[in-house]
C-alpha cells in the first residue's frame, strides 16, 4: 500500500522488537467475537488512474457551472476565483496542518487567521470576528444560542425571508432547548420587512433579519435594530451573499449586535454546497460569549510580535459542558481562502465585482420585466438576486432554459407555497452577457 511506508520485512522486525509473534496479538483486548473474520465488503482497491477515471465519469453526470450558465444563488454563489487562491491554498504548509495549538510552529495559519478576522471586521463594521464556523446556517444557530446566553430570554423573532434552510437549522438547534421561534412576515409588495411587523417583546432574546434577504431584497436594518434595542433584544444580521458588502452599508453601522454569514463567495468553490465558511462577528463587549476559535496578538519574551489562539476559557477543551460551544474543528482553511481572496480583490476589486453583480442583475431583471407574462415580484432594492413572477408554469420556463444549458433559477414553491408562480434568479459577474441574452431569448420564445 503506497500510503504505508513500512515494508513487510520492517513490519516483521518491528513486531519482533515488541515481542509479538503476530499482528493479531496487538488486538487481543478486542473480544474475539467482535473481531472480523472476513474482509469488509468494500470495492477492491483501485489504482490512481482507475480512481480518476471513475470520478471523472461521476463528475461528468453533474451540470456544472463550466458547462451550464448558472443563475442559481440562494446561499451558494458562482463567482470567479483568482488563480492565486488555489495556488496558495494548495501549499501543504496550509492544508496538511491542524488547529494551531503550538503557536511557535503555526504562525502561518495564525497570522493568516488574524488577517481574516480583521478583514471580516472591516467588511461588516463589527469590532471582533472569530476564525470561522462551519457555514452560514450553523453560524446563525450559534448566534441564537449566544443571544440566549447573553439575555436569558426564551423567544427568537426571525424574519420568514431568512434562508429557509437556515431557519430549519435554527429550529433543529433550539427545539431541544425549548426556545420559541416566532416568524415575521415579509411585505408582499416590497419583499422586505415592514417595521410594524417587527414586534419583539420583553421575552425576545434576538431579532434575526437577513440582508439581502432570501428574495434578494435589501432590508432596512437600521429601523429593525431600533425596534430590537427598544426591548433589550439583540439584533442578529444574516448575510448569505457577502459580495454585497462591497456596495452595501455594513451592518455594524446599522445597529447589528451579531453578524453571521456564509463566506463561500470569497474564493471558495461551489462544491455542491460545502466546504463553506461560517462568518461570525460581534461587539467587543460580547467577545467572551462568542463561539469558536479566536486568534489574538501576543509577544514572546524578546518582545517580538506573534499570534496565538486566545480566550480559550470559552472553549470545550477547557470548560467542557460549560463551554460557549462544542466547536473544535471548524473551517480554518476556508477562512484563509477568504483572506487570500479579499487581499487579492482589495477595496477597489471588491467594489468593482459587487457593482458588476448589481448591474448584471439589474439588467436581466429590467429586461425580464419587459417580457410579456413576466414581472418582478418585489419592488424593494436588490443586489444580485431577484424573484420573477411568471404567468407560465415555472417548471416549464426552467425546462426551456435548461434545454439551452441554462439553470435559470430556483422554484420557490417548496419554500414559500404562496410563491408557487415565482422563481429566484441570481446573476453574478461570472455570467457573460451572451448567456443573459440567451436567457431572454428563451423567455421571448415561450
Amino acid at each position: 500500500m503506497r500510503y504505508i511506508p513500512n515494508s513487510p520485512q520492517e513490519r516483521a522486525e518491528m513486531l519482533r522488537a515488541i515481542g509479538c509473534a503476530t499482528i493479531e496479538e496487538l488486538f487481543r483486548s478486542i473480544p474475539e467475537k467482535f473481531r472480523l473474520r472476513e474482509p469488509l465488503r468494500l470495492p477492491a482497491a483501485r489504482s490512481e488512474a482507475e480512481l480518476l477515471a471513475f470520478f471523472r465519469e461521476l463528475a461528468a453526470r453533474n451540470a456544472a457551472a463550466t458547462e451550464y450558465a448558472v443563475f442559481l444563488g440562494a446561499g451558494a454563489y458562482h463567482h470567479f476565483i483568482p488563480s492565486v487562491v488555489e495556488a496558495l491554498i494548495s501549499r501543504a504548509e496550509f492544508f496538511t496542518v491542524y488547529t494551531p495549538y503550538q503557536p511557535e510552529i503555526a504562525q502561518g495559519t495564525l497570522q493568516a487567521l488574524f488577517e481574516y478576522q480583521t478583514l471580516i471586521c472591516q467588511l461588516t463594521g463589527m469590532e471582533v470576528a472569530n476564525a470561522s464556523l462551519y457555514d452560514g446556517s450553523t453560524a446563525l444557530a450559534e448566534a441564537v444560542l449566544m443571544a440566549e446566553r447573553l439575555t436569558h430570554r426564551r423567544e427568537i423573532l426571525m424574519a420568514r425571508s431568512v434562508h429557509p434552510e437556515y431557519r430549519e437549522v435554527v429550529r433543529t438547534y433550539t427545539r431541544t432547548l425549548g426556545l420559541n421561534v416566532r416568524l415575521m412576515e415579509y411585505d408582499p409588495e416590497t419583499g422586505g420587512l415592514q417595521v410594524r411587523a417587527v414586534t419583539p417583546s420583553a421575552e425576545t432574546a434576538a431579532v434575526i433579519v437577513q440582508s439581502p434577504n432570501f428574495f434578494g431584497v435589501i432590508e432596512d436594518l437600521e429601523a429593525v435594530a431600533a425596534r430590537a434595542h427598544e426591548v433589550g433584544a439583540l439584533f442578529i444580521v444574516v448575510i448569505t451573499e457577502p459580495i454585497s458588502l462591497g456596495l452595501l452599508r455594513p451592518p455594524g453601522e446599522l445597529g447589528a449586535d451579531i453578524v453571521v454569514g456564509e463566506g463561500q463567495s470569497f474564493g471558495i468553490p461551489l462544491s455542491f454546497g460545502g466546504p463553506s465558511l461560517g462568518i461570525f462577528a460581534t461587539r467587543e463587549r460580547f467577545v467572551r460569549q462568542m463561539p469558536g476559535r479566536i486568534v489574538g496578538r501576543a509577544f514572546d519574551a524578546q518582545g517580538r510580535r506573534g499570534f496565538v489562539m486566545t480566550l480559550a476559557t470559552r472553549e470545550q477543551y477547557i470548560r467542557r459542558e460549560k463551554a460557549t460551544s462544542n466547536i473544535c474543528t471548524s473551517q480554518e482553511l476556508c477562512a484563509i481562502m477568504a483572506a487570500i481572496y479579499l487581499s487579492t480583490m482589495g477595496p477597489r476589486g471588491l467594489r468593482d465585482v459587487a457593482e458588476q453583480n448589481a448591474q448584471k442583475a439589474a439588467y436581466l431583471a429590467r429586461e425580464i420585466a419587459r417580457q410579456s407574462g413576466f414581472r418582478l415580484r418585489f419592488s424593494g432594492s436588490h443586489f444580485n438576486e431577484f424573484v420573477v413572477h411568471s404567468e407560465r408554469p415555472v417548471a416549464l420556463v426552467l425546462e426551456k432554459l435548461r434545454e439551452r444549458k441554462i439553470l435559470g433559477g430556483l422554484p420557490l414553491e417548496r419554500y414559500y407555497p404562496e410563491l408557487r408562480d415565482c422563481f429566484l434568479v441570481c446573476v453574478t459577474e461570472a455570467i457573460p452577457r451572451s448567456a443573459i441574452e440567451t436567457y431572454l431569448r428563451v423567455l421571448d420564445e415561450l
Binding site: 469488509l40 433543529t172 462544542n326 473544535c328 480554518e332 482589495g346
Partner: protein, 512 residues
C-alpha cells in the same frame, strides 16, 4: 552587506501593513451589459460610504510572497511526523485533491435539479453505504461538518428516539477520559452530564456505570478505543448495562483508525457513531477544518435522520427525500462538506478492504513500537495493550522541574510536532502520541531518539528544555497577557507596535 535585512528570515508584516495606495491584484472583464445609475436599483441610503477603507491594496506578487512566506512558518504533515494524539494526522493523499477539484464537482451548485446532480448524489450515496459497511451500522447522514457537529447530531437523534419511545431522559454519561467536545455537545442538546470515573487500568469503571445507569440515562458517550489508546474490553457488558437501563450507546469514532477493517462498532451494539473523515479517512485538516463528521445509526434511529435523505428511485436514479415527518430536521444547509466527503470516498476506494485493515494494523503496530521503546524513559500512566495511540506523562521528568509543555516545545527543536497535552484530564502532564500508519520505521526511530535525548537534557540541562523552542522564528508567546487584554484585529496604530521593524534579523523557521 552590513545592515541589510536577511531576505529569507525577515519578519513578514501583516497584509495591511504591506498595503500601498494604488496597488492592485485583481482582474475583471469589462462590464458587458448596459448600465443604469446604481441608485435606480439600490436606494442610495443602503450604499456604503467608507470606500472599504482599510482593506489592503497590494499586487498579485505581494499576495503570493506574503502568504507563501507565512506558510513557511507552519510545521505540516508533508514535512514530517505530526503525532498529535487523537487527531490522526496521517498523510493526505494528493490524488484526493485532484478528485475534489474536478470541475464537475467543484463547480456544481447545490441547488442544481436532481436529474442534473446524479454524479454528486452518487458520491454521497456510495460513501454513506461504504461507511455503513465499515461501521456495521444501518444508515447514515453526511451533513455534519466536523466531529463535534456529528456528536450534536447523534445526541439529537438519541433524544428524538427516546421521545418517540415516550421516555425522554435527562442525563448523558461520559467517562472522565473523554474529549471536551463530548460534554459540550451534550450540554447544547439540553442534557445534564454525569462523569463516569476510570479504573486504575484506565478503563470505564463498570460498578460506577451500573450505579449511574438509572431511569434518567439517555445515553452513554463512549470513545473506543478511549483517549488513553485502550480498547474498552468490557464493551459487551457496557452496552448491556446502558441498554438495560433504557439508554442508548453513542460512540465517538474519533479513534476509528484503530478499528477499521478489524472490528465494527455496530456488531458491538453501538446505537450511534460519528466518524471523522479528516482523521480516519485521510482528508487534510486544513489548520482546523474543513472536516466532516458523518453520523451512522441503527435501523431504529433511521427515521430520525436529518433531511434530506438520498434515496434511490425504482429507475436507479437518485433523489433527495424531504418527506420525513420524524426527522430531527436539518443540522446544516445543503448536504455537508461535499468536497471533504468526496476525498474520503476517494481514499476508501484507493485502500480497498485489505488496505483499510492494513491501516489499522500498522497504526496499532506503530503505537505499540513507540510505547515499547519509550516505556523505560517516560511514564505510561495506564500501561496496557495500547491501540493506535499511547499516553506518556512527564511524571519522571518533573523531578527536574520540567513539565510536559517543555518537553513538547523541545520536540519542536528536534523537528517534530508535539503530542497532544490538553487531555485526557486523568493523566497529569499528559503527552498523547499518535503516530498513525503513515510513519515509517526510521521516522519513528528518530522520534524515539529525540524523546530520549530530551529526557537526558531534562536531567543534565533542564533550563534548555524549559526555555525551548530555540530553533523557531519566535519564542514562547505570552498567552496570558494575550487573553487578558485581547487584540483580535489589526488597526492602523498596531503597526507601531514594538516588533514592527523589518530590519531586525530573525532566526529561520524549521526548513524542509
Amino acid at each position: 552587506m552590513t545592515g541589510a535585512p536577511c531576505q529569507v528570515t525577515r519578519d513578514e508584516a501583516l497584509i495591511f501593513e504591506r498595503s500601498r495606495p494604488g496597488r492592485t491584484a485583481y482582474s475583471l472583464p469589462p462590464l458587458d451589459v448596459p448600465t443604469v445609475p446604481l441608485e435606480t436599483w439600490i436606494e442610495s441610503r443602503f450604499l456604503r460610504a467608507d470606500q472599504l477603507a482599510g482593506l489592503p491594496e497590494v499586487s498579485e506578487v505581494d499576495v503570493i510572497r506574503h502568504f507563501t512566506r507565512l506558510s513557511r512558518w507552519n510545521y505540516a504533515v508533508d514535512l514530517g511526523m505530526y503525532p498529535l494524539g487523537s487527531c490522526t494526522m496521517k498523510y493526505n493523499p494528493k490524488v484526493n485533491e485532484r478528485v475534489a477539484r474536478l470541475e464537475g464537482f467543484a463547480q456544481h451548485h447545490p441547488l442544481t435539479p436532481e436529474e442534473l446532480s446524479q454524479g454528486s448524489l452518487e458520491v454521497l450515496k456510495m460513501l454513506e453505504e461504504l461507511l455503513c459497511e465499515i461501521t456495521g451500522m444501518a444508515a447514515g447522514c453526511l451533513q455534519p461538518a466536523a466531529g463535534a457537529h456529528g456528536e450534536l447530531t447523534g445526541l439529537l437523534l438519541i433524544r428524538a428516539c427516546l421521545e418517540a419511545r415516550g421516555d425522554a431522559r435527562q442525563k448523558v454519561l461520559i467517562p472522565d477520559s473523554a474529549h471536551g467536545t463530548n460534554p459540550a455537545s451534550a450540554a447544547i442538546c439540553g442534557y445534564r452530564v454525569q462523569t463516569i470515573p476510570s479504573t486504575e487500568r484506565g478503563l470505564i469503571d463498570l460498578e460506577a456505570l451500573r450505579r449511574a445507569a438509572d431511569s434518567e440515562v439517555a445515553a452513554l458517550m463512549l470513545t473506543n478505543p478511549n483517549t488513553l489508546g485502550l480498547f474498552e474490553e468490557a464493551i459487551e457488558e457496557i452496552v448491556r448495562i446502558v441498554h438495560e437501563a433504557g439508554g442508548l450507546v453513542y460512540m465517538d469514532g474519533a479513534n476509528m483508525n484503530a478499528l477499521v477493517g478489524i472490528a465494527r462498532p455496530g456488531d458491538m451494539g453501538v446505537d450511534v457513531i460519528h466518524l471523522n473523515i479528516h482523521k480516519t479517512f485521510s482528508t487534510p485538516h486544513g489548520g482546523g477544518g474543513p472536516g466532516a463528521g458523518p453520523v451512522l445509526v441503527t435501523s431504529e434511529l433511521e427515521p430520525f435522520l436529518p433531511v434530506p435523505r438520498i434515496v434511490r428511485r425504482p429507475d436507479g436514479t437518485l433523489a433527495l427525500d424531504y418527506d420525513r415527518p420524524r426527522s430531527i430536521g436539518r443540522v446544516r444547509a445543503f448536504y455537508g462538506n461535499f468536497g471533504v466527503l468526496v476525498r474520503g470516498l476517494s481514499y476508501i476506494l484507493t485502500m480497498g478492504p485489505e488496505g483499510l485493515r492494513e491501516v489499522a494494523e500498522t497504526a496499532v503496530l506503530n503505537a505499540n513500537y513507540l510505547a515499547h521503546q519509550l516505556k523505560d524513559t517516560y511514564e505510561i500512566a495506564y500501561p496496557g495493550p495500547v491501540m493506535h495511540e499511547v499516553v506518556f506523562s512527564d511524571k519522571r521528568q518533573r523531578a527536574y522541574g520540567v513539565r510536559n509543555v517543555d518537553i513538547a516545545k523541545r520536540l519542536i527543536d528536534y523537528g517534530f510536532h508535539p503530542p497532544t497535552m490538553s487531555f485526557p484530564l486523568i493523566v497529569p502532564g499528559a503527552l498523547m502520541v499518535e503516530p498513525t500508519e503513515t510513519e515509517g520505521r526510521e521516522e519513528l526511530d528518530l522520534f524515539i531518539a529525540a524523546m530520549k535525548a530530551i529526557d537526558r537534557e531534562c536531567r543534565e540541562n533542564p533550563e534548555l528544555v524549559r526555555t525551548a523552542p530555540h530553533q523557531t522564528r519566535l519564542g514562547r508567546l505570552d498567552e496570558v497577557s494575550a487573553a487578558r487584554r485581547p487584540v483580535l484585529r489589526w488597526r492602523p496604530e498596531e503597526s507601531n507596535a514594538p516588533s514592527g521593524s523589518l530590519s531586525e534579523k530573525r532566526v529561520a523557521s524549521p526548513e524542509p
